[in-house]
């Protein structure tokens, strides 16, 4: 049969986040695999339902922070103590530990600097949101007040008709089904 060979993508649109939520729960309950959800603002609680994993950005930022701290301390040790110690106001310039109090502020600031920027850059890269990137949301309204659920037939055991039926069963607003080659 020809039906098997073609793959379909369902874009189901809802006009309210709560409706989306219920629909998602309902569909997943029926064993439908929802690929993604496009929404104008974070719909809280949708992630576990459609199986989006927890992000590890926070861990990344902690690592960036540590890098910052050690860089700052190393730098100041090298500049002020190792490379060319100077007598500045009679302050000790012979070991990092003696001079540490004066180095705390810069260390802190540099830590924050690295953490914040490191994480932000990672965030943009992982999101694929970078200057000039094309938008991939199926419908412009999803950034305004509509919510779209994306379902792929190839990810689902259910065939297109079954899916369509299941989706139609929810309190949806519109549906668009496109075919695409594998």
């Amino acid at each position: 049969m020809t039906m098997e060979s073609t793959k379909k993508v369902f874009h189901v649109m809802y006009d309210d986040d709560d409706k989306l939520m219920d629909a998602a729960k309902n569909l997943v309950g029926q064993g439908v695999r929802i690929k993604d959800v496009y929404s104008p603002f974070p719909v809280h609680g949708i992630d576990p339902v459609i199986g989006v994993k927890r992000t590890r950005l926070a861990i990344a930022s902690f690592m960036y922070a540590m890098t910052g701290t050690s860089l700052a301390l190393f730098g100041m040790w090298y500049f002020m103590i190792q490379d060319w110690p100077m007598n500045i106001g009679g302050k000790p310039s012979f070991s990092l530990i003696q001079n540490l109090p004066a180095f705390v502020p810069v260390t802190f600031e540099f830590t924050v600097l690295c953490a914040a920027h490191g994480m932000s850059i990672t965030y943009l890269l992982r999101n694929g949101t970078l200057p000039g990137m094309p938008a991939t949301n199926p419908d412009p309204r999803t950034t305004d007040d509509k919510f779209v659920m994306e379902i792929l037939t190839e990810e689902n055991a259910m065939d297109a008709e079954g899916l369509e039926a299941a989706v139609k069963g929810t309190d949806m607003m519109e549906i668009s089904i496109k075919e695409y080659a594998a």
């Binding site: 100077m86 007598n87 500045i88 106001g89 009679g90 302050k91």
Partner: protein, 1059 residues
């Protein structure tokens, strides 16, 4: 058969290899003909397309721009024939002698690449010490307004024509007069003699400021008309009636060091100084007892003293309070006996005779007052001069040669002189610049500057001081004596003439034979054997007339006493920016002349007594001796009520004579100000015309003066706007001699007058078994960081300043300015508190009010502080030199973001100019406020064009090549003359000797007349400064904030009598 040998150039030729044949063929390739090359029409077609054009254009533009970015190239041209004694980068020193008709000092002139750049006292054989007028006098040499050629009738000329004109005049009839300042040079006297005999030229001497009365008093009593020599070093009690002998009076360059040498408390005895005066003078500010008397009372004060000491003479009408002090002075003088000393300022015969008589009664004559057998300084003959003026007016004078004086400015009856000049046929001036007098002369025969000329000076019998040139004459000038010889028809070069004066057998160029002379030139002095002259004996008469006159002097309304500023003197160097910028030691005002009035008088007249950046002084109108002056009035603590003081030496160039650009007022944008009729505006007003001539000589006081306030105001540039030290006893420490003597031997820090400030510690340090408020540790012992040990590690440069010896003369300020190329910023910037003095002398007055008194009187703390801001009406004064304290824990260093100021391991707090980005954080964080910021580009910005030496092609030569001229936007400050220390190190290294005190010094310690500043290595136990640091008078300013300065002060000890 003979076989023919064949040779091959190689195997290749033998077996004709193809490449050999090819190369053989091409051995001499036919050149491609040029015409053929040129005829190639592709060349014709090659044209520059638009794009290429743009490319080339772009390239060349870029190239041009880049070229423009290059820093300007400064060419330094090496010597073609290097003078053997000059090594570029190494300074040469020449002994010479400074004499301007008033100050007489043996000096050592430092030259670099043949340019005199620093003048200091000649310690070895010298007499006198430099003051700011002397150590900045090389500015006269570099003055851009100097005459570069002789002139006749205002047109540039040459010496031949000048000589012909003047010799003609000398040959001609009528009176021919040579008017000079006091001539001390035997050679010039010889030249004058020549002129006298050859052409009957008369010689008249005139001093800028007359001491005629004193000289005549000596003549009356001892038969020789001479200015006495005073030995302040031997005096135990000095009484001065108006004479500012530490600043300007008489031979002050010799008095200041002498007087302070008698005031070293460590010796266990100190001389005492009584000052009876109307203006607050430098001397008065150093007096132990200062009494405010009106000028008209000065005679009475002396009469009263005379009466107290001799018992003779009529009773004297004097204010009871003054009488008290007179009695005290009298008793101290009695005690001192032959070591007493009385001097008076009035140029008034009777006053001076009484003063002399008192010294005689004390037996001081011959001891502290030495009557010379022959005249030395101040031989001015005012009467002869006044007669001359009359004859000039009546047209009897045909020729007048003026040398070294400026009668049209300072002369008695200057107006008459000007009038007379018009009637004299030939008037000649030898002035260096076109000053007031030479502007009236029709022949200008400019003489050398003293730094360019040979001279011999005989101050007193027995020694001849030598002036030697330290630089080639900059312009087409000629020594005055040489001119005189030429005009009297006996031309001879001046050097040989001088040599002949002292060695009749002199033949030219015996440079390598006459060792005596060479040695004399080297030392700057030659001891000549004159028969020791017998001291003049007293032949004087009785005093009743003098006493009567003294008693009868009365004033009406205000009384004016004219004075000379320590910086300006009598105004010869009015165009010297260093002197103009140096604040007056008392008022701390720069660049100006003004009227000093007592605070009370000003308040009663409703004049502004709060003078600050935006609070100008009120201008008042002074009427005296038929003259009217408008000058700003400033409140002067210590000014006698009902009196005013005005400085002489101002108002130079009143008819815009070209006496130098710095002598005139400039606007805020740096342009010279012009008055209504387009003349330059002189700085201040000339008060010489106010002098009283009734006695045939100028008496520099006016006893009938009226003052009216006007609605004008005038901005005053003062480097110090706050005058009391607000009871901050960790800044200034002072005590009186009794208290010092009582605790003379207690260890440092324990004496009541120099308690080390202690901080409480939580530890039983005083060992009374409990920890309480009594457990204190000296701030010195606190140390947040024990790193960077300073004791005993290498050199550690330090300085000590003895407040007892510092008289506040400000000689150090000019020396510092010149040594370190400190920018001159002018009046407007000083008014904005932006003076650049690396070293300043803080002057504090005592206040009637104190926290204690406030407490007793139940005064609120706010009003107490408010009252403490007002100085007493007759305050005691402290002079405190303040420069970078080179703290070992310097607050300025820690805050610099770019480490532009750091600590050297020799104790210097060093400033790296080219690293500085100019945040001014260091200056803010300096407790002593000694850091100075380059607010503008001083060497280039228009605002400073008319006085900053760096902006004048010639004056720039005064800059010290060892010190960089700082760029705009960087911080600068005292470096303790690190450049001198560095070169001293090299010297010591070359000589292989240890670096001792003799080798190192700073400009200020070098210039200090009283040697109150000593600089050296604190780690060298034998150094002066290390010894001084052990002194129990030693303390550090603001000790309790723990910045650990390397500069120390010695507690000021006054010898005030216990009431």
């Amino acid at each position: 058969m003979a076989d023919k040998k064949t040779y091959w150039s190689g195997l290749e030729e033998l077996d004709r290899t193809p490449e050999f044949e090819r190369m053989e063929a091409e051995e001499f390739p036919a050149e491609r003909p040029v015409d053929q090359f040129l005829s190639d029409d592709r060349l014709q077609r090659a044209n520059t397309g638009r794009r290429d054009f743009l490319k080339f254009m772009g390239f060349s533009l870029t190239a041009a721009t880049l070229a423009a970015c290059e820093t300007p190239v400064v060419k330094s041209i090496p010597y073609t024939n290097k003078p053997e004694e000059i090594t570029p980068g190494v300074a040469n020193h020449y002994a010479s002698t400074y004499y301007d008709g008033h100050d007489f000092v043996n000096v050592m002139v430092k030259t670099r690449e043949g340019r005199p750049i620093f003048i200091r006292s000649n310690g070895d054989t010298g007499v006198g010490v430099v003051n700011s007028r002397v150590n900045s006098s090389m500015m006269g040499l570099y003055d851009g307004s100097r005459l570069m050629k002789p002139q006749i009738e205002g047109k540039e000329s040459d010496w031949e024509s000048v000589d012909s004109v003047v010799s003609e005049a000398f040959a001609g009839g009528g009176r021919k007069v040579l008017l000079t300042n006091t001539v001390l040079s035997p050679s010039i006297r010889r030249a004058i003699a020549v002129a006298a005999e050859s052409s009957g030229v008369e010689h008249i001497q005139l001093d800028a400021v007359s001491y005629g009365a004193l000289c005549e008093a000596v003549e009356a009593d001892y038969g020789v008309r001479a200015f006495p020599e005073y030995e302040f070093a031997d005096a135990e009690c000095v009484v001065t009636v108006g004479a500012d002998f530490l600043g300007t009076w008489g031979d002050s360059v010799r008095y200041s060091c002498g007087w302070t040498s008698g005031r070293t408390p460590e010796k266990g005895a100190m001389s005492r100084l009584y000052a009876f005066e109307s203006n607050m003078s430098l001397t008065g500010s150093n007096a132990d007892v200062r009494v405010r008397v009106k000028p008209s009372d000065s005679g009475r004060v002396l009469a009263a003293l005379y009466r107290e000491l001799s018992g003779e003479g009529a009773a004297v009408e004097l204010d009871a309070a003054i009488m008290e002090d007179v009695k005290r002075a009298a008793s101290d003088l009695k005690r001192a006996g032959a070591s007493g000393l009385v001097i008076a300022n009035d140029n008034n015969l009777s006053t001076q005779r009484i003063a002399l008589a008192i010294n005689r009664i004390l037996g001081a004559v011959g001891q502290t007052v030495v009557i010379p057998s022959q005249p030395g300084l101040f031989q001015g003959e005012d009467k002869a001069y006044l007669d001359l003026v009359q004859q000039m007016k009546s047209g009897q004078v045909s020729t007048l040669v003026v040398h070294g004086v400026n009668p049209a400015y300072h002369g008695p009856d200057a107006a008459g002189f000007r009038e007379g000049m018009a009637k004299v046929k030939t008037t000649v001036s030898t002035a260096l610049v076109e000053d007031e007098t030479s502007a009236l002369c029709n022949v200008l025969a400019p003489r050398h500057h003293w730094l360019e000329s040979w001279d011999d000076l005989m101050l007193r019998p027995g020694r001849m001081d030598i002036v030697q040139p330290t630089i080639q004459p900059l312009y087409d000038t000629r020594h005055g004596g040489e001119s005189l010889l030429a005009w009297s028809g006996q031309p001879l070069d001046w050097y040989s003439f001088i040599r002949q004066t002292h060695n009749a057998a002199y033949v030219s160029d015996d440079m390598y034979r006459d060792n005596a002379w060479n040695e004399a030139v080297h030392n700057g002095v030659m001891m000549v054997d004159g028969a020791a002259p017998s001291a003049p004996v007293f032949s004087g008469g009785e005093l009743t007339a003098a006493l009567r006159e003294a008693n009868n002097r009365t004033g009406k309304g205000f009384e004016l006493s004219m004075y000379r500023k320590t910086t300006m003197g009598s105004g010869e160097q009015a165009a010297n920016p260093f002197l103009q910028e140096t604040p007056d030691p008392i008022t701390k005002v720069t660049w100006d002349n003004y009227i000093t009035m007592s605070q009370g008088d000003m308040e009663s007249m409703g004049l502004n007594t709060y003078i600050a950046q935006e609070d100008p002084a009120s201008v008042v109108e002074v009427k005296a001796a038929g003259q009217t002056l408008r000058l700003p009035a400033i409140p002067q603590p210590g000014q006698a009520d009902g009196t005013i003081g005005i400085a002489m030496g101002y108002g130079r160039g009143a008819n815009s004579e070209n006496i130098g650009r710095a002598a005139f007022q400039v606007g805020e944008n740096g342009q010279h100000l012009l008055d209504a009729d387009g003349n330059l505006v002189p700085i201040g007003k000339n008060v010489f015309p106010l002098a009283d001539l009734t006695a045939g000589m100028p008496d520099y006081s006016a006893l009938e003066v009226t003052i009216e306030s006007t609605d004008e105001t005038y901005p005053i540039a003062c480097t110090q706007m706050h005058h009391t030290y607000m009871g901050r006893d960790s800044v200034v420490k002072e005590t009186d001699f009794q208290s010092y003597f009582a605790e003379m031997d207690v260890p440092r820090g324990e004496a009541s007058w120099n308690k080390t400030i202690g901080l409480n510690v939580h530890d039983d340090v005083n060992g009374d078994g409990e920890i309480n408020a009594l457990d204190k540790k000296a701030t010195e012992e606190f140390d947040m960081w024990h790193e960077h040990a300073v004791e005993g590690v290498g050199h550690r440069w330090g300085m000590s300043i003895d407040l007892t010896h510092c008289i506040g003369c400000s000689s150090c300020i000019t020396a510092c300015h010149i040594e370190n190329n400190v920018p001159i910023v002018g009046k407007d910037e000083v008014r904005r508190h932006r003076d650049m003095h690396w070293l300043r002398v803080d002057r504090y007055y005592t206040s009637d009010y104190s926290k204690e008194r406030g407490g007793e009187e139940g005064e609120g703390v706010i009003s107490t502080y408010a009252k403490m801001e007002k100085p007493s009406d007759n305050p005691q004064t402290v002079h405190m030199p303040m420069m970078c304290q080179h703290c070992n824990h310097a607050p300025c260093e820690t805050v610099c973001p770019v480490a532009a100021t750091t600590h050297s391991n020799e104790g210097f707090n060093q400033m790296t100019y080219n690293r500085c980005i100019g945040t001014r954080y260091c200056a803010n964080n300096c407790p002593y406020k000694v850091r100075r910021f380059n607010w503008f580009h001083y060497p280039g910005y228009q605002k400073f064009q008319n006085f900053n030496p760096a902006q004048d092609a010639i004056q720039r030569m005064v800059l010290n090549p060892d010190v960089v001229v700082r760029s705009r936007g960087v911080m600068e400050k005292c470096s303790l003359c690190v450049q001198r220390t560095q070169s001293a190190k090299l010297e010591a290294k070359k000589a292989g000797v240890p670096l001792t005190d003799e080798l190192v010094n700073c400009a200020c310690s070098d210039a200090c007349p009283t040697k109150c500043i000593s600089f050296g290595d604190l780690n060298d136990p034998n150094s002066e400064v290390a010894k001084v640091f052990k002194n129990n008078r030693r303390y550090h300013a603001l000790e309790e904030i723990g910045v650990k300065p390397n500069i120390a002060y010695l507690t000021k000890v006054r010898n005030t009598p216990n009431a």
